[in-house]
Symmetry: C2
Subunit: 378 residues, 2 copies
């Protein structure tokens, strides 16, 4: 019987006992019935099994539970239901890790017979470096904004960023299909701008439009992006459903896939509850197929610590069950002035996402882009 193991950080609250709490997870996330109503063979085959439960601090425990893969079936939605469905509504339970090596190669029946439950990135760090022709140095990225500009205006910004040498130019995650810059028109205009810039510089940058939407719409937008030669696509998987990452990563015509953290915050904002940031962004998104992992950098508008960011980076890049590594793409809190310091901290296998500070540059965005590019070229 194939199984996988989940690691939990458990906080015991007033009136709770650790034994009952961990056993409660074993039943809640499987049979969801009182133990006395369960037959012995169902119990042995279906209910989670406690492998480890050890005290790590005042009211804190580390637990490991082994789950039969049979319960998840061949699909991500039910996998996530076993991982964190009902216990998402219980306080003091945080998912910290998973035995990915037991999940690599498990088949899914989704799009085709060769599909896997967890595909990992289709490109990963080496594939994206190859597409860009940049074997070693750190990469730069920026976002087209603000909402409210027309497709032509956004394409003009795109052109100037590309002239200045930014490697990856993505849509702001708030650009969807609004009437002021409809998706198809925007992609067409931005790809033309990218081509004009490439003709001038002799260097390819990557434009990544945001295709977030409901699934039928996402497929349509994916195909528009592909047909216009876009370098990749971006989704906010917590808006689309996390399964969409794996579905996009396993297309025969898959493009590099960037994941944006919009709507994910509730899962990682509360210590001792939800997921650790390194698990959600670094491990789960990577296993689902994100090539580029966008997250809010320490020191920016969000309250992620430097240690948490380093842990996300490490999870995205370390050897893990044969999955390709993902590019961490921290954004926020980075300017021309402190970028060298971040590069020392995060290293070359990182995409440095700069936004507002490029738009604020007194000499304009092309000059801003050029400064960043020169800096990252070393």
């Amino acid at each position: 019987l194939r199984t996988f193991t989940v690691q939990y950080d458990i906080t015991v609250l007033e009136g709770e006992s650790i034994g009952a709490k961990v056993e409660g997870i074993c039943f809640e996330q499987s049979v969801e019935m009182p133990p006395d109503t369960i037959d012995i063979d169902i119990h042995d085959e279906i209910v989670g099994r406690i492998l480890l439960c050890e005290k790590t601090g005042e009211s804190r425990y580390r637990a490991e539970i082994e789950w039969p893969l049979l319960n998840t079936g061949p699909e991500i939605t039910q996998f996530l239901n076993v991982l964190y469905g009902n216990i998402s509504m219980k306080p003091g339970i945080c998912i910290t890790g998973l035995s990915w090596e037991k999940l690599a190669g498990v088949p899914s029946y989704r799009q085709s017979d060769s599909d896997q439950l967890f595909p990992g990135p289709a490109y990963g760090i080496p594939g994206i470096r190859e597409r860009l022709g940049i074997p070693e140095r750190p990469l730069s990225a920026t976002a087209l904004k603000p909402m409210g500009l027309t497709a032509t205006e956004l394409a003009d910004i795109c052109y100037r960023f590309a002239l200045g040498g930014i490697d990856i130019i993505k849509d702001d995650h708030g650009l969807a299909d609004q009437p002021y810059a409809p998706f198809r028109e925007r992609v067409k205009a931005c790809m033309e701008a990218m081509q004009r810039a490439a003709d001038k510089t002799g260097r390819n940058s990557m434009y990544i439009p945001n295709i977030t939407g409901d699934w039928p719409e996402m497929v349509e937008r994916f195909e528009i992006a592909r047909d216009h030669g876009a370098g990749g696509v971006m989704i906010s998987p917590h808006l689309t459903g996390l399964w969409a990452l794996a579905a996009l990563a396993q297309r025969d015509d898959a493009l590099p896939l960037a994941a944006h953290p919009a709507f994910s915050g509730s899962h990682i904002l509360h210590a001792g509850s939800g997921f650790t940031k390194a698990f959600l962004y670094g491990e789960l998104w990577r296993a689902l197929g994100a090539d580029l992992i966008i997250y809010p950098n320490a020191g920016g508008r969000f309250s992620y610590s430097r240690e948490e960011c380093l842990a996300i980076n490490e999870a995205a890049r370390r050897p893990m069950a044969g999955f390709r590594s993902s590019f961490p793409m921290p954004g926020g809190g980075m300017q021309r002035a402190n970028l060298p310091e971040w590069v020392r901290a995060y290293g070359p296998d990182t995409v440095y996402l700069l936004g507002g500070s490029l738009y604020q540059h007194p000499e304009g965005i092309e000059a801003a882009a050029r400064e960043i590019s020169e800096l990252l070229a070393g």
Copy 2:
């Protein structure tokens, strides 16, 4: 210019000022750029506008921000991005309400020209009562479980619940398409069992299979359920993507739609952050099209208070922007013994979902079902 208004409960943390925090939301959820980089017409048309900000307690404020509907475009994913995309990663922000009357009738371009951004329930309380032929009394419901049983075994349980008079018999939300009880086989067997029971009792109950999956799979499961005459379908919208509710509710062949809270807990577990339970389950799910709103009852395995449950019920049922009312479907913490007390508290326009306690009945589940049915018949 069409707009809508969102209400927030803001907690000011150490080092924050209320003015900067509320203004920060206006920019974060729209242009996502520093104010000094924004043209004045973008500012006036695109950035959120503070309508109200008043102190409600120590470090607590109630705020209202008006948003241009233009930013959301005609789709739920981007609507939720404006509502709670990036601010989901910031502490001390809780969504408590929305001006639904400004959103009723707004068109979506999704499945057909007549589609609306927020459709509300296709059936609602009156539609479900009509389908069941039960004009007034409170309804009973239960769940088929546990995981691990075969389709035939689950159908046998289904038969006995239906014989005993349970009105709504739904799949446990963990039943997906596992090899022990594949979806198609389970629906076929359960619908045959429902028919056999109806032939004997002369009374129709409703079987609601769980169709949660990725979208292509959900559509397939929906059609299997429809073709077998199922009374409704259930999804866990936080696993599928919330947009799936609106997509299913607007099908020409829509069936009563039950929403299950699996994977939603992070949004409602932390006071002062995320969404209030009444907003998420009672308002947002209802506006998206849930006919049946499943949530964990007070006094059960989850820590929802009686007041919170009453607030969910009220939100699901009160007049709201012309949407049909939704049936609250509290589950957990209810047994034969305390059911009359819950009926007094929640009233007749409620579906009382009993699970484990029916399976524990010493005389078997048919007897348990009969007791509940007699009790609710009054």
